[in-house]
């Protein structure tokens, strides 16, 4: 029986019980990402902070690895969340799925502890197997890579087998194929080569084809599901848009990979291919939501979960601006020559990861809590007028936009002084880093980072308390036909 206003796992189906475990770890890792990001940002301003104890390289590695892993946990949680409802069937092999959750979480814990307390090793292959692979974003040592592959194979089995035994919806079909691609691509990053051009060629297969292709399709599936749940949008509309998105995302994103092949030793024809296709990448990012919201408005739909809907809208705009506009700004090779490997990349990276991915997973957190508390009321007129979710939404988004713009200012200074004037030498690099305009940007970034951290604390507080003791049942998300 559903118990209204109380956190009770009896309110959830089997897949959803596993999903909330993934969500919980995801939230903890987001906290780690914020904390180590603040450390790394502070080291730009106070370089002696934690020198030779917790160096920038360690903080930055934990910062970006926590990012990758918490988003993956968010995706896996979201997939388990929607699995039984979509397939109309109990999760096949749920026990194994639960076991793998604990194995994966134990492995992540060990990896992070080794990052923090061992940090580096001698120049031998054994260091890459046991400590740190030393390749940005996929630093996890090789033993952990193998563990990740085994784990995701189990998740894939859960998902594919459940849809096969139940029913395949459009969302289900796209999801299964996308997960297959997502996991297959990871294998491209699991080898050592001395040739750094070949190394980075395949490394980008993992990083780009995840972030700018398979992850985007993953969030499109989650968005399609979320819009049906929160706004009561018709399946036919979201699934048609899902196919359009897949066509546009993969049509631009797969060959958009070329924008990473301008400067790593690869031939010049990648200029045209990378430039053209990545210029198309922003197109698909906002269409489905605009249509859905328009459609919902036209049919006077009732929104059943205000915080989730707000974060879905934040996702639509964040994805378009962060991944789309900020990426397009420096994707053409003629501009990228000056911006590649500067604070421009950091600026784009922050807004894109947050806008495209963090936002939609936070929306799923709210959706999960609404159901976990027995399908409680989460529309308007929340206690305190819902100030906690509104303020955390505001602080997180404003903090992120502030960081992004600050880093962009520093990036402009860096491109101008280091690249255009000084010619990319060591002296040129530090001439830019020492310039007051650059350091001002770094101060503002840290300040907005603190704002973001406050928003995060408020978010956790809100997630722990929203809907507690609520006596009103959920306002159903139905629309007039």
């Amino acid at each position: 029986m559903a118990t209204l206003g109380k956190l009770d796992s009896a309110n959830l189906n089997g897949g959803q019980k596993l999903a909330v475990k993934y969500f919980t770890v995801a939230l903890v890792l987001l906290g780690a990402q914020v904390l180590f990001g603040l450390f790394a940002g502070m080291q730009y301003l106070k370089p002696d902070l934690f020198y030779e104890t917790l160096d920038f390289s360690v903080n930055r590695m934990v910062h970006i690895n926590a990012l990758v892993v918490w988003l993956l946990y968010g995706f896996l949680g979201s997939v388990y969340w929607l699995l039984e409802e979509e397939s109309e069937h109990k999760v096949v092999g749920l026990k194994l799925g639960n076991l793998i959750f604990w194995v994966l979480t134990a492995a992540v814990t060990v990896v992070v502890l080794v990052y923090l307390f061992v940090q580096i090793g001698p120049g031998k292959e054994s260091s890459l197997w046991l400590i740190n692979e030393g390749r940005e974003y996929i630093e996890a040592p090789r033993w952990a890579d193998i563990g990740i592959v085994v784990s995701v194979l189990v998740v894939f089995y859960n998902v594919a087998a459940t849809f096969s035994k139940g029913r395949y919806t459009g969302i289900g079909g796209v999801l299964v194929l996308d997960m297959l691609a997502l996991f297959g691509i990871y294998l491209a990053g699991m080898f050592y080569t001395t040739n750094i051009s070949v190394d980075q060629y395949w490394w980008w297969w993992v990083i780009h084809l995840w972030v700018e292709a398979t992850w985007e399709v993953m969030v499109a599936c989650i968005m399609a599901y979320g819009l049906m749940r929160v706004l009561g949008v018709r399946r036919k509309i979201v699934e048609t848009w899902l196919y359009i998105e897949v066509a546009l995302m993969f049509g631009s994103g797969i060959l958009g990979l070329g924008h990473h092949y301008f400067w790593i030793g690869t031939p010049e024809y990648w200029f045209s291919i990378g430039g053209f296709f990545s210029a198309l990448e922003p197109i698909p990012l906002v269409a489905m939501v605009v249509h859905a919201v328009f459609d919902a408005g036209a049919r006077h739909a009732k929104n059943s979960n205000h915080p989730a809907m707000a974060w879905l809208i934040a996702h639509a705009f964040g994805n378009f601006f962060g991944a789309g506009v900020w990426g397009f700004m420096h994707t053409l090779p003629q501009i990228n020559l000056y911006t590649h490997g500067t604070q421009w990349s950091a600026s784009h990276g922050h807004l894109a990861f947050f806008g495209a991915y963090a936002t939609i997973i936070i929306a799923m957190f709210y959706l999960a809590l609404q159901y976990w508390r027995g399908k409680t009321w989460m529309a308007g007129e929340l206690p305190g007028n819902g100030w906690k979710w509104k303020w955390s939404l505001g602080l997180l988004n404003l903090g992120m936009v502030g960081m992004t713009v600050s880093m962009l200012v520093s990036g402009y200074v860096q491109s101008q002084i280091e690249r255009a004037i000084e010619g990319s030498t060591w002296i040129g690099y530090f001439a830019a880093q020492a310039h007051p305009w650059f350091t001002q940007g770094m101060w503002w970034r840290e300040l907005f980072g603190v704002m973001f951290a406050v928003g995060f604390v408020l978010l956790v507080w809100d997630l722990l308390t929203i809907g507690r003791g609520e006596t009103r049942a959920m306002q159903p998300a139905v629309a007039e036909e």
Partner: protein, 197 residues
């Protein structure tokens, strides 16, 4: 109603999605098959590891209108000419060290990595090392114990990473080899160390 149009139908877009995805992926595979031989070790764009026996320059190419690496006279690294296998072993030690010491989370290599420390693509050619006569030993000593050496005016310093003498020589070999890769003019407008005799 609009949804009855063929261009708004679910099945049309499902088919389109499948064809576009499959087609793009096949094109990517074909391009990969064309690119990989062009960046294999010993190719024109990515020279063999024994290139560390030569002087490497970075010169403006009038036709391409970008700077490109140019191989010069014999100038063996650490004064010792290596055969291909020995050169590969040394460069490999350097690359393994660069990965095991997590260099990429402060520096960029070929422009990829973190932005806390200078790009290493042309580190071998950087004017910071003074003259080409003292460069090699300067680099080895710096990598082994950077913490007390002059870096810059803003107080950012590389930490001691426990790099051995042999590993440091490997890193220098790797950096010299990396500076010979044709990166289409990246980094732009680079001002190289004086190398003429």
């Amino acid at each position: 109603m609009a949804t009855s149009q063929w261009w708004a139908s679910e099945s049309f877009w499902r088919k389109t999605a499948i064809w576009v995805t499959g087609g793009s992926f096949i094109v990517l595979i074909l391009l990969t098959m064309d690119t990989l031989p062009q960046i294999s070790t010993g190719s024109q764009r990515v020279p063999a590891y024994s290139v560390i026996n030569h002087r490497i320059e970075y010169k403006f190419d009038e036709q391409r209108k970008v700077q490109v690496p140019v191989l010069g006279a014999m100038e063996p690294l650490f004064g010792k000419e290596l055969n291909e296998a020995e050169a590969e072993a040394l460069v490999k030690l350097g690359k393994l060290t660069i990965q095991a010491k997590n260099c990429m989370n402060c520096h960029t290599l070929l422009g990829n990595g973190a932005y806390y420390a200078p790009d290493l693509t042309k580190a071998w050619l950087d004017q910071y090392w003074g003259t080409k006569e003292i460069r090699e030993e300067q680099m080895v000593e710096f990598i082994k114990d950077p913490s007390t050496r002059l870096h810059n005016g803003i107080g950012r310093r590389m930490p001691r990473l426990g790099v051995t003498d042999e590993e440091a020589r490997g890193v220098v070999a790797f950096l010299k080899w990396m500076s010979s890769i044709d990166t289409n003019g990246f980094p732009y407008n680079f001002k190289s160390i004086e190398q003429e005799n």
